[in-house]
């Protein structure tokens, strides 16, 4: 069983993901080449902000089956489609000011171990790349990071009632965050390890 990285955009996958594939840690598959067998034989999947959410709704049954047998899905982006019962539509911050983009660690999740959330708040001095809103957290989820003074759950992990777990990062792809502080490669590897059920 391996991890499946769903490659949705045109062009090469990110170098960190390609390196993991080269090491045999995951399989990269173009989104349009997904098959039922991919879902049936993977421990976890990672999707990016460029996911064709309309097309991915066609895999709703396969996603449910993945969760039922204890699999994982790391989701980057805004939830605009109800892939799983319990998910709700993304909510952007309304015209956020700098203070509204403040991030707060709410739970010490293994993906972020040793990485202060403040290191991920800005990219070359600019806030907002990490995310500017949240995917509403399903009941029973654990908020990992909050945004704004309201601590809206921009990152959460959800252990589904019927088995399996989902991690939602409501922003640009998490693996690309924290490059200024040297964290991006670390985050990519941690995401893969989480999807594999290793952490």
């Amino acid at each position: 069983m391996s991890v499946l990285f769903v490659h949705s955009h045109y062009g090469e996958p990110g170098r960190g993901w390609q390196a993991l594939a080269d090491e045999g840690r995951l399989t990269i598959v173009r989104e349009r080449e997904l098959s039922p067998e991919h879902f049936a034989t993977t421990q976890g999947i990672v999707t990016t902000t460029h996911l064709d959410q309309i097309g991915f709704m066609g895999w709703k049954d396969e996603i449910a089956a993945l969760f039922t047998r204890g699999g994982s899905w790391f989701f980057n982006g805004h939830t605009l489609k109800p892939f799983v019962d319990g998910l709700s539509t993304y909510r952007p911050l309304g015209s956020p000011k700098r203070a509204d983009l403040r991030l707060t660690r709410l739970f010490e999740h293994p993906i972020y171990q040793g990485i202060p959330q403040g290191d991920l708040e800005e990219n070359k001095g600019v806030a907002g790349f990490y995310g500017r809103g949240h995917n509403p957290m399903p009941a029973g989820g654990t908020a990992v990071n909050g945004i704004s003074a309201a601590l809206l759950p921009i990152d959460w992990e959800w252990r589904l009632p019927g088995g399996g777990r989902m991690f939602s990062h409501a922003g640009n792809d998490l693996g690309g965050m924290g490059a200024d502080a040297g964290h991006s490669g670390v985050l990519t590897r941690r995401i893969a390890a989480w999807a594999a059920g290793e952490i």
Binding site: S8, H9, H50, Q53, H78, L93, V126
Partner: protein, 213 residues
């Protein structure tokens, strides 16, 4: 006036194309994979939004060319590698500086090249200025509407390569508007989409000059 929008299905496409702010500007949506089943001649405009994967469009290039040759209009916005699936497009990508505005007094260098064009009755220079992804070598006879800091086209209308029109840009407003990130891109669409509906009627020359109206 009928507009067909190609819908690649990402969150930013769903927000931009289906959301309440702009949803009314599009009459029908089609998935790139289903374009072959659509009679494009029924539409005044076919719009392909930012970051449509080129490999999902490439197999439709002959159909798009035939539509253009019968007088159709195609709009292709940025980061969609339109040079891979539309005729006569020569594109040079450039590294994107997302941080240019941090320098006090900085100027990205984007300029309106044709202030009398009716599009700019609806858009100001600041509405086409967010960042750059590359430029085009527009064919002779094309209407260049906006240029980068080197005077290279970043938004133009090509009415010479085919019997139809191609509105081509490296600007990526649908991506940023749909990501709720970059107010200038929302202002751009606030002006661009009404212009599309009123000035890109099939076989119309209305887009060409304010003086011609």
């Amino acid at each position: 006036m009928k507009v067909l929008a190609v819908h690649p299905g990402t969150y930013y496409h769903i927000e931009s194309l289906e959301g309440p702010r702009y949803g009314g500007y599009f009459d029908e949506f089609v998935r790139p994979e289903d374009l072959g089943d659509v009679e494009l001649d029924d539409f005044d405009v076919v719009l392909v939004p930012c970051r449509t994967p080129a490999d999902r469009m490439a197999k439709n290039s002959a159909q798009l060319r035939a539509y253009l040759d019968k007088g159709g209009t195609i709009i292709a916005t940025g980061e969609s590698d339109s040079h891979l699936w539309l005729p006569g497009i020569r594109f040079t990508p450039q590294p994107t500086n997302f941080w240019w505005w941090l320098t006090p007094g900085a100027d990205l260098g984007v300029r309106i090249a044709d202030p009398n064009h009716p599009l700019f009755a609806r858009l100001a220079q600041r509405d086409i200025t967010w960042h750059l992804h590359g430029w085009f070598d527009a064919p002779d006879g094309a209407e260049v509407l906006a240029v980068n800091d080197d005077g290279k086209p970043i938004l133009y209308i090509d009415g010479v390569t085919t019997k139809g029109r191609m509105v081509v840009t490296s600007l990526d407003p649908f991506y940023h508007h749909g990501s709720h990130f970059m107010p200038a891109t929302t202002r751009f669409l606030d002006g661009f989409l009404p212009w599309m509906r009123t000035h890109l009627v099939r076989n119309s020359k209305a887009h060409e000059r304010v003086a011609a109206l």
